[in-house]
Symmetry: C2
Subunit: 380 residues, 2 copies
Amino acid sequence: MTQPLKQTILKTSSQCKARRSSIETPHGTVQTPMFMPVGTLASVKFLSPEDLKNMNSQVILSNTYHLWLRPGESVVKHAGGLHKFMNYDGPILTDSGGFQVFSLGKIRTIEEEGVHFRSHLSGEKLFLTPEKSIQVQNDLGADIIMSFDECPPYPADHDYMKKSVERTLRWAKRGQDAHQRPHDQALFGIVQGGEYEDLRELSAKTLVDMDFPGYSIGGTSVGEPKDVMYKMIDYSVKHLPENKPRYLMGVGDVAGIFEGVIRGVDMFDCVLPTRIARHGTAMTSTGRVNIKNKKFEYDLSPLDENCDCEACTHYTKSYLRHLIRANEGFGMRLLSIHNLRFLLKLMEDIRDAIDEDRLLELRDEVYARYGIDSIDHPGW
Amino acid sequence: MTQPLKQTILKTSSQCKARRSSIETPHGTVQTPMFMPVGTLASVKFLSPEDLKNMNSQVILSNTYHLWLRPGESVVKHAGGLHKFMNYDGPILTDSGGFQVFSLGKIRTIEEEGVHFRSHLSGEKLFLTPEKSIQVQNDLGADIIMSFDECPPYPADHDYMKKSVERTLRWAKRGQDAHQRPHDQALFGIVQGGEYEDLRELSAKTLVDMDFPGYSIGGTSVGEPKDVMYKMIDYSVKHLPENKPRYLMGVGDVAGIFEGVIRGVDMFDCVLPTRIARHGTAMTSTGRVNIKNKKFEYDLSPLDENCDCEACTHYTKSYLRHLIRANEGFGMRLLSIHNLRFLLKLMEDIRDAIDEDRLLELRDEVYARYGIDSIDHPGW
């Protein structure tokens, strides 16, 4: 294929902006809307590629910043890229490193050329530019890669945000020019602009003019209220073309997923499900459960009666509670499997609901089960 | 079956005291000599029961002391015993708690009735007696259980050791009397006596008179030199019956296994393979390898060309090195699988060699590959 991605819109909701699509990638075709598990360091923590296949995972995400630092992109390139390095033959997406530079890096200095900062691991001085981010991502070899962007904190004033958006747009162009593998790696532009409608419009329209194979919505999940985030999505999506994938970065809570899908988003990712799993919090069909709770000590029922994952079909709450309390890796493995399968199954249900034009009904059902009142009170 | 174990000797070596046998247990028949992976807290760390089956594991071991403290035997009993609790349908062995009381417990006071000590977790005052150990093990419900014994340090003088052995023999009788499930749990007597030939004889003969369904050799792997341990085995085995299983507790290094098998031992266990795996040390056919070594950074070959485990058939040294350096649980999972499979395969080779009466030749081959010169210099 000369284009690395081909999106086919299979169904458009009559109720809202939601759409069902399939996306062909160099490593297989995936169905959207979809949730993408995060494998920060070329491993979804505790899980094997077979575990991911067994839960019907599609695209997985890995972090450019972390892999650049450890093991270094040259090690991954030497192995033949991320797919071969981690022995995973499904589609992979890498981010640009921008988010980590701004959330983990110490003593940042942003200039036109790029960002100076110190490694969160060694304190070493580092400099990340749009060209360097793309070079690292070309070496990692993911199917979908991201433009290097500034991810400003929330709130940021309009003046700062305007300068940031304009610089990020120049960085997007530089990244596009530096991209060496446009035939087999789809580079997405990232819409920024904070909560400002005019800046989201500026960002989206400029990126669309540059004709990227897909678009991300960035600058979300940085501490803003939920209703602000939903506006950011609206302000961005309205300027994006129908026939290109839309990816809402860093969102993986139930309400965020529904509200994103309703607004026309195709792709989601979040570390939350696996991170909270390792601390004993399970996402279930009736809300979050802390498995360490004393009330589960003798509970021989599964974590979630409605779940088909390895944890729920093979083990009891009593056993899972014991494993997590004893800090056993197998407990973290099982809860990670559960939380990911929970979200992947939710996406399957969402896709079915779009096909059958009853997405809003599904949303109301799920919100009622969770005790999510409205988009202003999204619960978890 | 009215007897929980039935051992059938299939072949006796013409070269040494080694024997091949099968042992029928309430959860299946196993082949000896065998190595038993350790699942301290009702989980072989990071691994699922399916992982254990895939590596042809047979019996697994779990620790009474640890399960007594966490989650408590009542939780395991409520689930229907360890097999159901951890969803493992193969044979399980539990130790008596004696070794952990003496190695982990604080401020011990030994008296005729039992041992006073403090929990290594909470500092709580605890009292373990032969009856309590058996009650906990009856509740856990393993196929093979152990008498509660004192495990004296090395060296201990003859006077102390004699008093200890005599008390441990009285404890063995009390445990035997307290045992509520002799029809489906095989209670082993534990031969003690340190390095003293007369005390090993006293211990072994007294236990044999009590007619246990199997015998353990205890007081090894407590800091004594290898040659002393081999004498302890010799002094014990010579007084044990041919038709009962013999279990050398806590030994799982290559030389220890060979020298034990040669001296007539059937069963081995050790936490070493999984513990060192979690720190990045792999047992390979040419000796130990620290995967964190810089020289493996770009090494795309498997950990061990001769190994059929998941780690060696799916991943490279370069990837495993990265995972372990980044402290990734999946790396610990893969190295644990590898080290266990390495030892299980070694036992398969040992069983074949006994069948074909070439055990000493196999030992010499393996020692040569490892650089183990003799039993006095067993390497690892």
